[in-house]
Every structure is written in structure tokens, then in C-alpha cells.
């Protein structure tokens, strides 16, 4: 089975027509590291996640998964990626068990029913396993979508706004889940606007602004204060 212990982005640029979404983004992440990808709306966070998830090809620059790249590694590499998107990627007409069963079989996993039971237990949806997802709240769908993304124990976990719609209990459970992913050696990239929620869970934060990546400087203030300071500096330099 293909595996890797690092993710390396080098000068990744992505243009959509004449619009530049990402400009020379470089980043390195190691196994067991959780990195928050912060930035205002339209900064390029989802584009960056799509490139790392092999759904988008960079206009220039390289993305390497250990010694592998997406163009040559193909399906075995994709088997090691888990992506939770803002749109959840679950079928509303199917039940949680049917959704998980479909994806488990697509990933060629063994012990499908055992995995489904464990995933539903984690999501707190065991009692709703056969109800159609269309009747679920946003938070319930979000919990199910997270379990779908983690069902195959991916090495690289990409989470786009995973705290959306979660109540306090589910938020706490997700924080614990992130900590568990660190212990199991996953590389986690998480985009979020809930800066307070992820503080204390992540190892470091980077910030995308106008398609360019900057490390959020270490400091004594809270993550939110440091994030605001960088945004304000960016606004001042744009005004000049």
C-alpha cells in the first residue's frame, strides 16, 4: 500500500483565467501535524485544499506526498486522502449506513459493517442509521460527512470548515477527534473561521491572503488577535 509521511507544496500557483487564486504557495507538513489554514473569504483556502486533494491541477509548482506526486501515483495515492468539503459529499436520499457502506466498498475496505458501526458511534448517529439523511440537521450531516471522510483511515486529512453547524458537544468531540488523528500520525490541514475553537488543537497556523501564504507569527496574544493583526497589516499595505 502506498504511504507517505510528509506533504510538500513548492511554489504552487493556480490561475482561473486571468484571476490568480494562489500565488507561489509553499508549505511543508509532517505526519502527526495539524495545520490550520486561515484567511478571509476568497483567499484561496478551498482552492488550495482542492489542489492537495488532487481535484485541481496547479498552473505551476509541485505538490509531493512523500516521494510521490499526484500525476503518477493516481488511485493508490487517492486512497490515502480524506476530504471533508463544505458541501459534505453525502447522498441525502440514502441513510447514514447506506452512505458509509457505498463509500467503504468504493474504497475496497474490509470489515465494512464493523467500520460503519464504529463510524456511526463516533458521529452519535447509531440510533438514526437507517433514516434518510435528507431529514437530518446540518450538524448531524456534518458529523456523518466527517466520518465518511475518515472511514478509510487516511494519512492526509483535509477538512474544509469542519466546525460548521456543530453544537458544543459535537465541537468538543471533533477537537478530540483531531487530537486522535495527530496521535495516529495523520497529516491534517484544516480551514476554518472558528479561530477560537481550534486554538489549542492545532500545531501551527498559516494564513492565505490574496492567494499568498504567510506563516502566522508566534506571539503572546491569542490566535484571533494575531490573525486580526496580520489582516490589518495586509489592509494597510493594500491601502498604500
Amino acid at each position: 500500500m502506498l504511504d507517505f509521511t510528509s506533504l510538500t507544496l513548492t511554489d504552487v500557483t493556480r490561475n482561473f483565467g486571468r484571476r490568480r487564486a494562489l500565488h507561489r504557495v509553499s508549505l511543508r507538513a509532517a505526519a502527526g501535524e495539524i495545520i490550520a489554514l486561515l484567511g478571509p473569504n476568497g483567499a484561496g483556502k478551498s482552492t488550495l485544499l482542492s489542489i492537495v486533494a488532487t481535484l485541481l491541477v496547479p498552473t505551476s509548482g509541485t505538490v509531493r506526498y512523500g516521494d510521490h506526486d499526484a500525476a503518477h501515483a493516481g488511485a493508490p495515492l487517492r486512497a490515502r486522502l480524506g476530504l471533508l468539503g463544505h458541501d459534505l459529499y453525502i447522498y441525502p436520499e440514502l441513510s447514514p449506513a447506506e452512505n458509509l457502506r457505498f463509500f467503504a466498498k468504493v474504497y475496497g475496505l474490509d470489515g465494512v459493517e464493523r467500520r460503519i458501526s464504529a463510524a456511526l458511534e463516533h458521529a452519535g448517529l447509531s440510533h438514526r442509521r437507517d433514516d434518510p439523511v435528507s431529514g437530518f440537521s446540518r450538524g448531524m450531516r456534518q458529523r456523518l460527512a466527517l466520518e465518511r471522510a475518515l472511514l478509510h483511515a487516511p494519512r492526509l486529512v483535509l477538512l474544509d470548515e469542519p466546525f460548521t453547524g456543530l453544537d458544543d458537544t459535537a465541537t468538543h468531540a471533533l477537537r478530540q477527534r483531531l487530537a486522535m488523528l495527530r496521535e495516529t500520525g495523520s497529516i491534517v490541514l484544516v480551514t476554518t473561521h472558528d479561530v477560537e475553537t481550534i486554538e489549542g488543537v492545532i500545531d501551527r497556523a498559516v494564513m492565505l491572503h490574496n492567494g499568498a501564504l504567510a506563516e502566522l507569527p508566534a506571539g503572546t496574544g491569542s490566535l484571533r488577535d494575531r490573525y486580526r493583526a496580520v489582516i490589518a497589516r495586509g489592509a494597510e499595505s493594500s491601502a498604500r
Partner: protein, 226 residues
Amino acid sequence: MNFVRTVWLVTRKDLLIEARSKEILFTTLFFAISCVLVFAFGFVREGRALEDAAAAILWIAIAFSGTLALGRAFERERQSETLRALMIAPMPRPALYLGKLLGVVLLLAAVEVVIVPLVSLMFEAPLFEHGWLTLGLLATGTIGFAAVGTLFAAMLVRARSRDVLLPVLLYPITIPVIIAGVRGTAALLQADVDVSMARLWLSMLVFFDAVFVTLALWTFEPVMTE
């Protein structure tokens, strides 16, 4: 992962969703029946239909309702962005294409089960006299039409005006399939039945299917990777 098993997983999932919602089946069926009935009122005079009208209307109903089914089949994958989840999964991407194609073909087959007897009844067309040949023409024609349509529907899934663009792109490319279907069926419905001509059109349809499916399998992965 086993290619054939993946194709069946995708098809089974689509059929399961359709069995729950019945959305595509009912809309395409209603559209196809309406189409046949409207043309029947126009082209049947004193119990006699215009020559070749039955064959043409049968294939018009299949093409129009097929376009409707193709659009909706991928709209479902777009609504919750499940297409992205399928694209990131470690399945061979041509298997995803074939799975979606098989789902569309089976849905259109269900529509044809209703509209073929309806056309036969309304136009007094002996569609069942050469049953195997009719079945062959319908099967190959439907596969050829759906093969191109599935590829275009997948390509257009993110286009804003996909509902308009799909028929605009689909019909010119599938004209050979529709013409072969109409002429092959007409050869079986004329007073002096021409079985050899129907067989010729059937072999043309098999050729079109081979070309369209091969090209679609070859191009599906590159066109789906942005």
C-alpha cells in the same frame, strides 16, 4: 479494486437513489408519453399514420426524455458535490463513467418498456413482429445516445447554463445514432419489411457505440480533472 464491481457499485447506488425518489423515472416517463400522444394527434388521420412517423416519434421521445434523464442524473451529484467525493476515491475513473452510463441506460430502458407499446398502439406500428431486431436497435441506439450524453453531462456539471448547453452539444453529435435508429426501425415497420436494411442499420449502431464508448472512456478522466 475490481473494475466491474466498481461499475456496479455506482450503478446500484444510482438505482437505489432513484428507487427512493422516483424523480427521474416519473419525469422522463411523463415527458415521453406526452411527446408520443401529442405527435399521435398530429400524425394519425382516420386510424392511419404518416409513413415512417412511428419510427421517428419513437426515437424523438427517447432522445428528448434521455436528455432530461442525463441532466438530472448529474444534477444529483452536483447538489451535495458528491461528484468530488467520487473523483477523489481510488476507483478507476472510467469505472465511474460506465457506472453512470449503465444507470442512465437502465432508466431509459424502463421508459422504453412503456413507450414502445404505446407507439405500437397509437400508430398501429408492428414493433413486436421482429422483436429481437427492434430490441437490438433500441438497445444499441440507447447506449450510443447515452454514451455521448453521459460524458457531456459530466463535463457540463459545473457550467452555469448546463441545461441549455447539454442538448445543444448532444444532438449534433448523436445525429448519426438517431438517424440509424429511425431508419432501422422504419425498415421494420414499412409495408414491405426490409430485414437486411434493418440489420445494416443495427451494425452501424454497434459501430457508433464502439466509437462513442471508447472515446468517452478515453476522455473522461482528462475532462473531469480541472
